[in-house]
C-alpha cells in the first residue's frame, strides 16, 4: 500500500491545494509500479495551515490571513504547485527504490505518442511486465520484452491513435549523473540492431536504468503526436517472491 502525507505551512486555499495535489500525483505517484498491484488503501493527503512566517523586507507581500488561490495569486500558486510536484516525485521515487526485493531503479520514458494517456498506458505496460522486470534484474538489454509489453498496452482509443510497429525505437540511455556512456539503440524503426553486449553491460550494471521508447508519432506523423510520459519501476528479484511468499493475510 502507498500512503503519503504532505504537510506545509504555506497559505493555500483548499480548492487550490486539491488541484495542485491532483496534478502532482498525476505525474508522480500515479506513474510508479513495484508489482502491478493496486492497493485498497492508497491515499495521499496534503495539509496546508498557512502558518509560514513573514520575511521582512520582501516586496511581494501577502495580506495577513490571505490564502493563495488560482484567482487571487496565480503565479504564487504555480510556484507552490511546482514545489509540491517536485517533492511528490522524490517521494514516489523513494517508494520504487524501496520496492520489495528491488535492486534496480528503472525509468521508462515513452515519447511520440498521441496523448499523455496513451504514452502513460504504454509506459505502465512496460513497467508492469514481469519479463521486462526480470530482464532488468539480470542486466539484460531485452528490447523484445519491452516491445511486446508496449504492444499489448490498453490505449485510450479516444483519438484513434495507435502504435505503428515500423516506427518504434528502443534505446537504453545512461542515467542522470553517469557520464561517458553513449546511448545504446536496440531497435530502430521497428528493426532490431545487433546489441553490443559489452556496451549493454556497461549501461545496465548501474542501479539506475533508463529506457527510452520513441513511438515517432505512431499512426500519426511525429509532429501530430508528440506526447510523452515517464514511469518508474524496479526489477523483479527472488527476494520479492521470498517476502510475499512469507507475508500472511
Amino acid at each position: 500500500t502507498l500512503l503519503g502525507l504532505v504537510a506545509t505551512d504555506a497559505p493555500i486555499a483548499p480548492a487550490a491545494l486539491q488541484k495542485c495535489l491532483e496534478e502532482a500525483v498525476r505525474v508522480s505517484f500515479n506513474c510508479i509500479s513495484v508489482d502491478g498491484d493496486m492497493s485498497t488503501n492508497d491515499t495521499i493527503l496534503a495539509l496546508a495551515n498557512g502558518q509560514a512566517p513573514t520575511v521582512q523586507g520582501s516586496a511581494d507581500k501577502l495580506p495577513h490571513g490571505a490564502e493563495i488561490s488560482e484567482s487571487s495569486h496565480p503565479a504564487l500558486l504555480a510556484k507552490f504547485s511546482e514545489q509540491l510536484t517536485s517533492l511528490c516525485l522524490e517521494m514516489a521515487h523513494l517508494v520504487v527504490r524501496d520496492g520489495e526485493g528491488a535492486e534496480k531503479f528503472v525509468q521508462v520514458r515513452v515519447r511520440g505518442a498521441g496523448s499523455y494517456e496513451d504514452a502513460h498506458a504504454i509506459a505502465s505496460s512496460i513497467s508492469t511486465s514481469s519479463l521486462v522486470k526480470c530482464a532488468m534484474h539480470g542486466a539484460d538489454a531485452n528490447w523484445g520484452r519491452i516491445l511486446c509489453a508496449a504492444g499489448y498496452a490498453t490505449l485510450t482509443g479516444k483519438s484513434g491513435w495507435t502504435i505503428d510497429p515500423h516506427k518504434v525505437n528502443v534505446t537504453f540511455v545512461a542515467p542522470e549523473g553517469v557520464q561517458g556512456i553513449a546511448p545504446l539503440p536496440a531497435l530502430v524503426n521497428g528493426t532490431p540492431l545487433v546489441v553490443d553486449e559489452a556496451h549493454a553491460a556497461e549501461l545496465l550494471r548501474h542501479e539506475d536504468i533508463c529506457v527510452d521508447v520513441d513511438m515517432q508519432g505512431g499512426s500519426w506523423s511525429a509532429k501530430e503526436a508528440d506526447a510523452e510520459a515517464v514511469f518508474w519501476t524496479c526489477d523483479f528479484s527472488k527476494e520479492y517472491v521470498a517476502i510475499n511468499g512469507d507475508y500472511r493475510t
Binding site: 506545509t8 495539509l47 517533492l87 522524490e90
Partner: protein
C-alpha cells in the same frame, strides 16, 4: 550509481534540518501493538525494540486539506471515511486538524464495522485534542485516518484507544526532526527505511516549508484520483 554495498537505509535516510520543518504542526508516534494484536509473532516479540505503528500529526489551526485515493473497488474503511469527509466539506473547503495513521492493519474489507472503527477512533482524537468540543458534532470530520497492513482484519480499537490517550496527553506531541522521523517509521510495513523529505521556498513574503512522508514497498501500482464532486 553503481550497485552499492550500503543498506538502503544508509543511502536514502537523509538528515532533516529542524529549520526546514513546517510551522504549526505537532507530531507523535508510539508502538500501540497493532501488529502484535493482528498477528502475534514470537519472533517479533523477541526481536528487540518494538517498531512504532501508530502516529498522530496535529495542526495547531485548522488546515486546508486535499486528498487523492485509490480507485480499487474495495476501498478500505479509512479511504471511505476520508472521501466522505472531504466531500462533505463546508463551502470554504475541507479543513482538518489531525491525521491519525496506523500500520499493521489495513482495516480493509471489514464492512460496516470497519467504518465504525475508523469513525470511533477519529472521533476520539477529535475529542481528546479539543475536549471543549461536543462529542459527535454534526458535520464533516476534521480528523482523517490512514491505515496500512493486513487486509480483512478489524482494527484492534481498544489497543489503539489506549495508545492514543498517551499520544495526545503524554507530553509527546512535538515538532523536531526525530519526532517526524518516528512518524515516518510508524507508517512502515515491509519498507526497509522511513521516507521523509522537506524543502523550503518563498511564496511572496512568506518563508514556506513543506514536509512529506510516505510508505510503500509492495502492492504498489497506484492510480489515485479524487472522488466525484471533489475536484477543485
Amino acid at each position: 550509481r553503481a550497485q552499492s554495498t550500503l543498506s538502503k537505509a544508509e543511502r536514502f535516510v537523509v538528515p532533516i534540518d529542524a529549520k526546514s520543518l513546517p510551522r504549526g504542526y505537532l507530531v507523535a508516534s508510539t508502538y500501540a501493538g497493532v501488529k502484535n494484536a493482528i498477528s502475534p509473532s514470537p519472533a517479533a516479540a523477541l526481536s528487540g525494540v518494538p517498531k512504532p505503528d501508530l502516529a498522530l500529526v496535529v495542526s495547531s489551526t485548522p488546515a486546508a486539506i486535499a486528498g487523492v485515493f485509490t480507485t480499487n473497488k474495495f476501498q478500505a474503511a479509512p479511504v471511505v471515511h476520508a472521501t466522505n469527509a472531504l466531500q462533505a466539506a463546508q463551502p470554504n473547503g475541507p479543513r482538518a486538524i489531525a491525521v491519525l495513521a496506523n500500520s499493521g492493519c489495513a482495516n480493509a474489507v471489514t464492512g460496516k464495522e470497519g467504518l465504525e472503527d475508523t469513525e470511533e477512533l477519529v472521533e476520539l482524537v477529535r475529542n481528546e485534542l479539543n475536549p471543549a468540543s461536543k462529542p459527535s458534532q454534526p458535520g464533516p470530520s476534521d480528523v482523517l485516518m490512514l491505515s496500512t497492513g493486513v487486509i480483512g482484519v478489524r482494527l484492534p480499537v481498544g489497543t489503539i484507544r489506549r495508545a492514543l490517550y498517551h499520544l495526545v496527553h503524554g507530553q509527546v506531541l512535538q515538532s523536531n526532526p526525530e519526532a517526524w522521523l518516528d512518524v515516518a517509521r510508524a507508517y512502515m510495513t515491509t519498507d526497509t527505511f522511513p521516507k521523509l523529505r522537506t524543502r523550503q521556498f518563498m511564496l511572496g513574503d512568506r518563508q514556506c516549508s513543506m514536509l512529506a512522508i510516505d510508505k510503500g514497498a509492495g502492492m504498489i501500482h497506484p492510480h489515485m484520483t479524487t472522488p466525484g464532486g471533489l475536484h477543485a
